[in-house]
Point group: C2
């Protein structure tokens, strides 16, 4: 192990928002990427990637993501569409989809369908009216349960109703056994366009308290 | 790009919690790891890792994590301590800390200090009373702003008051420029003990709408 070394502390209570953003997005990594599809009131699909995103539970199954606002302070189409329709799909992003996912973050005008413009094929949802990205290896079908506003931070909590997985990644359907490596997903790193592949995987055995006691001896 | 292929759909509304857990933890990856330290009312530090965790905003700076419950249905020490104290530190986990981080998830009895038992050095916090993991390259100092309960899913939202970074990862302090790769963090993958390193990084240029128009021509 490395020896203790020097550290620098940044007081976020006195730094501007841009500094807080740089420090936190460079530090809380790797972040899974939610490629979120929604429908506007005219049934035009909106598609945009978010890495302020996390799995929060399985009983009930809950994901959280934070779409933020546009530069002018108005909510993004994703948030507007969920506020009016409640449903959204979260397609996870494989390495082969990384460029087109990033392109879909382009500031297209309101009502312009990113998926059509970028030639991203969509497939109908199973349990929701919102489609999913055809080539994504894994999509969560979600319905909003709560939206929390803390200052300018807007957090959407969704219950996951269904999961659609590429068949080759399902090793044993009856045991819900998924080959995560086969999904070949990427994570968001720091900087303006930093990402990381997840191909360099490893396993760690989980130790029980009884095993720890055996290892350490009775005096512990 | 791969051609469209077969997909399997799993209806989470009819599957048991164990199946939902397996499907979602194998799919929402890579997940950043929050190694969360809290203090109980006797000032004994508790330390446990959580990957139901995400960055949710920078204005104000908010993180979310979901500690879940013990197998017997009672809240974990992390949640009990935050309910009584409000403060917690989130240390991110580098590859060299992966084994001891995993060991700290062992089901030690209530009130037994994991950090002491596992010889994890702690350092005092700057803005909070809760310490941080000495060898972690990045720690967020947080105070609870809200806890949301949805069924058995408990989501703790914390405001980040300060960030402590290993000095060698701070490239330009005045510009808040962090070398994310130097942190060498790991992400949680699927399975009982699956993780991934983040060393296989790459960059994607972000396209503006004007650039997209130029690329596609005026008819778009």
């Amino acid at each position: 192990m490395a020896q203790p070394t020097d550290f620098k502390h940044f007081d976020l209570t006195v730094l501007p928002a841009s500094a807080r953003y740089k420090l936190l997005t460079a530090t809380v990594v790797p972040r899974p990427i939610a490629w979120v599809c929604t429908l506007d009131t005219g049934h035009v699909p909106n598609l945009a990637p978010y890495s302020f995103f996390g799995l929060m539970g399985s009983d009930p199954p809950i994901v959280a993501f934070a779409p933020g606002d546009r530069a002018d302070g108005t909510p993004k189409d994703t948030a507007l569409n969920i506020a009016s329709g409640g449903e959204f799909s979260v397609s996870l992003v494989s390495a082969e989809l990384s460029q087109v996912m990033s392109d879909s973050a382009t500031d297209f005008p309101h009502g312009m369908a990113e998926a059509t413009k970028l030639d991203v094929g969509l497939e109908p949802g199973v349990k929701i009216a919102v489609p999913r990205v055809r080539l994504s290896p894994a999509t969560l079908e979600c319905v909003e349960v709560q939206t929390i506003q803390i200052g300018k931070t807007r957090i959407i909590l969704g219950q996951v109703l269904g999961v659609t997985l590429r068949a080759d990644a399902v090793l044993e359907e009856a045991k819900y056994h998924v080959d995560t490596a086969a999904l070949d997903l990427i994570g968001r790193m720091g900087g303006r366009g930093g990402y990381a592949r997840t191909r360099d995987g490893f396993e760690i055995g989980r130790m029980t308290y009884a095993e720890w006691q055996e290892r350490e001896g009775p005096e512990n």
